[in-house]
Each structure stands twice: as structure tokens, then as C-alpha cells.
């Protein structure tokens, strides 16, 4: 039996990549010098934001193969076979995620540019550690820079979301 090649080739500078975005299989044509952030935005996933474009600010964060990662540092072609969750896959205006609700209610959103990345980080934290300490929250959000606030409200929002999500789990289990 012929072994499947673990490689894909570019044609005229473009790769055809197959990946899952927010649970749906997608085939995207991406340029060889393009990063995942640009490819996602070009294909309509505009929740991930371009801030520094150098991996410092966290506004481009997406969940990449189960871990929050910086879409501005991931070559788009290397997302071939990957599973990606963007902020659009976390919640929507009509059906917000408890973390999104908590951010609004805690007054954690000012200009909002950093918030998608922050919610992506917070979601992964609460999915893996439902009762984080303040230190753990601050450590987990240390790659998400906010230039409007002093992070106090965001930390409060994550605490509030943790409480609500725990309550929902308890109610759901009853």
C-alpha cells in the first residue's frame, strides 16, 4: 500500500488547505506568505483582530488544535488538517457565551479590540480549570494586552463567568 505523503505543494504560490473552523470542514486557498490571521479574516472570520502582527498583543488569538495560539504567527498553510476555533465559534450576539455576557456585565469592554483574544484565552482557561485563582487568571491572560483598561475588570469578568459556568454545570447535573 502506498504511504500517503505528509506534504502539500503550492501551485502558483497558493496552497489548498483543508481544516476545521468552528466545527465545520473548510477548504481554503491561501497564499504561501500568508498567516492564519490574514487568511481567516479574508475568508470572513473577522473576530480575530490584527494588532501588533508580531505575537505580542494577543488580539489575534484563536484556539488552534485545542490550545489558544497566536494566529499572526501561524503560517496559513500550516493550518492544513488543523481544528481552529475563532471567536465566532464561541458565541454570537443572539446566543452569547457566558464569558461574553460576563465581560459585558462586568464592564470589561471599552474599545473592544482585544476582547475576542481575551475571551478565547479565558474560555480555554475555564474549560480546563473551572475554578481558577486570580493569579491563574492573570497568568493566563498575560499575553492579551489591553490598552484601554488596567485589566481589573477583565479579571473580574473571568471570575464572574467561572461562577456562572459552575452554576450552570451544577443546574445541568440536577
Amino acid at each position: 500500500m502506498k504511504k500517503e505523503n505528509a506534504e502539500i505543494k503550492a501551485v502558483n504560490g497558493y496552497f489548498e488547505v483543508s481544516l476545521k473552523i468552528n466545527g465545520f470542514r473548510k477548504n481554503l486557498k491561501v497564499k504561501n506568505n500568508e498567516f492564519l490571521l490574514d487568511a481567516l479574516r479574508r475568508h470572513g472570520y473577522k473576530g480575530a483582530k490584527k494588532g501588533c502582527d508580531t505575537g505580542d498583543c494577543g488580539s489575534c488569538a484563536v484556539i488552534f488544535n485545542g490550545r489558544p495560539a497566536l494566529a499572526c504567527l501561524i503560517p496559513a498553510f500550516s493550518a492544513h488538517g488543523a481544528e481552529v476555533t475563532t471567536i465566532e465559534g464561541v458565541g454570537a450576539v443572539q446566543a452569547p457565551h457566558p464569558i461574553q455576557e460576563a465581560f459585558v456585565q462586568a464592564g470589561a469592554v471599552q474599545c473592544g479590540y482585544c476582547i475576542p483574544g481575551m475571551i478565547i484565552s479565558a474560555k480555554h482557561l475555564l474549560d480546563t480549570n473551572p475554578e481558577p485563582s486570580e493569579g491563574e487568571i492573570r497568568k493566563y491572560l498575560d499575553g492579551n494586552l489591553c490598552r484601554c483598561t488596567g485589566y481589573v475588570k477583565q479579571v473580574e469578568a473571568v471570575k464572574l463567568a467561572a461562577k456562572r459556568m459552575k452554576k450552570q454545570t451544577v443546574t445541568g447535573n440536577q
Binding site: A10, N33, G55, P75, D142
Partner: protein, 282 residues
């Protein structure tokens, strides 16, 4: 990345090496990609992605601690085994690297593949007498970490070698160690100074000492004369003072250019705090 024509994602180190050795492929090996993704040379035509290699383990083998090359900083930070080794210095060092989003992606193999002053792990691995397991055309071999960037290893990791594992010897398990990063902010990826300090104490005396200075040059260096003062000594204020002064001197003599005064003072202060925290002088 304008000239990338092939994205290769092998599943075994052997496959990865064959791509790397194929001169026509003109490949570059990338693990976490946090450093090289934005700085790929335009000559590269094959992006060799190592993230699918089964090398993300953190385990104990024959008493040694084994860190797979694609173990991420976050995995090392949160590994119970790494936390239990040498006072948890590996986990502590991993946690001091940049931000959580970088720690989720960056790997220990990527961090040591090239000598850079801002790398976190080289100082720690040099201090813990680590060895590195490598795969080359000639087969698997191990070399001391201190020899990783030296001659005799061909073009080096990621060029004609694949880093498989980092081996931390069993004898360092109970060493008392500390890693300090002195930087502008906690999340800064570069630092003014990094310092690894480690001692093994038996019967009230220091039987092994390691003082490694990082961030001042692409490769970390041992402050051997400061280590000598500590080795065999019973720690008392006089010995501590002498070792700290010697460390400050080492910062000057190890390089062609004199180190900034504040860096010498910081290094000496951090070493003093560490040695005093061992509780021996009391």
C-alpha cells in the same frame, strides 16, 4: 515565505530528517514557530513542520528526566514531574518565557535549536548538565548540551540534525536551583539578564555548584570561578560575599565588552539572595 513551495508535516523523526537532508527541498525545520515564522529566510522552499512528531513527552527514564523536543513551555510549566525536579526550576523557567499564548506554542527543542540571547532554556540546561539526543544521518547520538552549538555537529539542529530529547541527569533531581529573569516586564521575551543558580548540599557543605549567566550573549556561560568558590565550602556570609563579587567579575571577563554596571549588581544581588535563602549562614 514568498518562496515556500512545499509544506511538509512528517509523522516520524526519520521522515523529517530525510526531508531536511534532501538538498533539493531546501527545507527549514520549525517546531513551535514563534520565533522563526516571521523571519524565515527567502531562500527556504520547504516548511518542515515538526509539530506532528511524537516527541512531546515529559517522562522519567532510568532515573533521568526526559523532555521531548516538542514539549511546549506550557506543558513543562504544568508538568508535575518537571515541577518535582531540582526545585521545579524547569517549570519556573518555562513560566518566565514571554506570555501564555507564546508558551502554548513554543517548544523546548525550538528554544535550544539556535543560540539566541533571549532563549530561556539554554542557561537552565547548561546548569543541570543536560544532554541532548539528536538524530542525524549517522543515526541517534547524544551530546552534552554545552556542545550543541560547537563544531563537530555538522550544520546544526534544524539544518542536518533533528533534536529528539533533552535528558536531565538523575543526580540533579534533588539539587536546589533557581532561575531568575531580570527584564523590563514579566512578559518581555528578552531580558537584561538571566541567571541559573544551583547547588547540591551534603552534610552542610556545597558539593556541586552551578552559576550560569544568560541573556548577555547568544550562548549562556558558566561563571566557573564563582562556582569554584562555592564548591566544597560551607556557606557563610564571607563565602557568599566572595562568590557574588566573583560573579560580577565574571560578567566582565567572559566577554570582550564590559558588562553594564547594573547587570553586575543585579547578578550579584540575585546570587546573594539565592545563597542566603538556603538557610546555611544562620
Amino acid at each position: 515565505m514568498n518562496n515556500i513551495k512545499c509544506y511538509s508535516f512528517p509523522r516520524t523523526p526519520k521522515e523529517a530528517l530525510s526531508v531536511l537532508l534532501n538538498k533539493k527541498a531546501n527545507a527549514i525545520a520549525v517546531a513551535g514557530g514563534t520565533l522563526v515564522a516571521k523571519t524565515l529566510p527567502e531562500t527556504v522552499e520547504t516548511f518542515l513542520d515538526l509539530k506532528n512528531l511524537p516527541l512531546n513527552h515529559i517522562k522519567k527514564q532510568g532515573g533521568d528526566l526526559i523532555l521531548g523536543a516538542t514539549a511546549t513551555f506550557d506543558a513543562i510549566d504544568n508538568s508535575k514531574l518537571a515541577q518535582s525536579w531540582a526545585g521545579g526550576v524547569l517549570s519556573h523557567a518555562a513560566a518566565r518565557c514571554s506570555s501564555q499564548l507564546i508558551r502554548n506554542m513554543a517548544t523546548i527543542g525550538g528554544n535550544i535549536a539556535r543560540p539566541h540571547s533571549f532563549n530561556i532554556f539554554p542557561a537552565v540546561l547548561l546548569g543541570l548538565d543536560a544532554r541532548v539526543k539528536l538524530l542525524s544521518e549517522a543515526g541517534v547520538k547524544t551530546c552534552p548540551f554545552s556542545g550543541l552549538y560547537g563544531p563537530g555537529l555538522g550544520a546544526g539542529p534544524g539544518r542536518d540534525l533533528i533534536i529528539l530529547e533533552v535528558i536531565i541527569p538523575a543526580r540533579t533531581k534533588n539539587w536546589v536551583c533557581r532561575f531568575e529573569k531580570f527584564a523590563r516586564t514579566e512578559a518581555s521575551w528578552d531580558a537584561y539578564l538571566t541567571l541559573f543558580m544551583g547547588v547540591e548540599i551534603a552534610d552542610g557543605s556545597v558539593c556541586a555548584a552551578r552559576v550560569i549567566v544568560g541573556a548577555l550573549s547568544p550562548k549562556p556561560f558558566r561563571a566557573a570561578s564563582a562556582e569554584q568558590i562555592l564548591s566544597g565550602a560551607r556557606l557563610n556570609p564571607g563565602v557568599i560575599e566572595e562568590a557574588c563579587l566573583e560573579l560580577a567579575r565574571c560578567l566582565d571577563t567572559a566577554h570582550q565588552h564590559k558588562a553594564d554596571e547594573f547587570k553586575k549588581e543585579v547578578a550579584a544581588t540575585l546570587l546573594k539572595r539565592f545563597l542566603e535563602s538556603l538557610g546555611q549562614p544562620a
